[in-house]
Symmetry: C2
Subunit: 133 residues, 2 copies
DNA sequence: CTAGAATGATTCTAATTGCAATGATTCGAG
DNA sequence: CTCGAATCATTGCAATTAGAATCATTCTAG
């Protein structure tokens, strides 16, 4: 029989651990943890709402971090083709280059490293079933 | 092959989902999410640092939520036997009663419900291996 | 067609959180 | 024994975050 409270603590603990890992790596590039998370998710053009969804935060926060990244010249807001309300976030060449460096840093000493590829697969499968979006 | 970035997003997403679930239930008892988390972890006397560890937050934060719970009469700070630096957090009868009500609320419609007990077991096992450094 | 609901982004405000510094107590090397 | 390092809780401050309100645009029922 599984203890749900313990399980919640473990999920939260691992999330915090992943965030701490991201925080240290992003800091070496002059970014906050949130900025690093945003950069990590921007594998292609995203709308602000999509970014908020991937970062699991409020849209107002996504606006905030996008502002900072835009000020630093790492992304641009472009009019969304086909929806004039929305804006597309697109990385500048500097942003894309920085993203590559960040991804390289993140792949080192990942908190998920103790798990084998197979275990990561089953973990991914279980989490995907639990997360309702 | 597993995508580590996707996995990180899933862990974070589930953590946020669990927190949102906790937030709504705690709110019906007049508590914030953090206060609810603290109450949930206080199955027995805990030191502030232990509580912070279980909540995966900074000790200063644990002090903050303990202050609130103490003001509301749900817990007491007692001198720790054997260590005069530390303080033991102990639930009052009202706190213990409130905790039972919270646990009852939390067991309903848990975000982990989509997973079978067996799946929750393997999930717990995997997370435990990843989170222990 | 059109009025009202819904969606997307933004702004403002308040609350939560992390971080560095401080005081008190305990531990440990020499 | 003793002095410096480490631990525990707390405080103050800065930064992040969530939540409600607002404006513009899009969708939809009738």
């Amino acid at each position: 029989m599984s203890d749900e409270r313990l399980l919640c603590g473990l999920v939260n603990g691992l999330a915090k651990q992943i965030e701490a890992h991201l925080r240290t790596r992003a800091a070496t590039l002059g970014l906050t943890a949130s900025q690093g998370a945003a950069l990590r998710e921007l594998s292609g053009p995203l709308t602000l709402r999509e970014l908020a969804g991937r970062m699991a935060c409020e849209p107002s926060n996504a606006t905030f971090v996008a502002d900072r990244l835009e000020e630093q010249g790492y992304l641009e807001r472009r009019p969304h083709p086909g929806n004039r309300r929305a804006k597309q976030l697109v990385l500048t060449p500097e942003g894309a280059e920085l993203r590559e460096r960040l991804l390289a840093l993140l792949s080192q000493d990942s908190p998920l490293a103790p798990l084998s590829p197979g275990e990561q697969d089953t973990l991914q499968h279980l989490l995907a079933r639990a997360v309702t979006r």
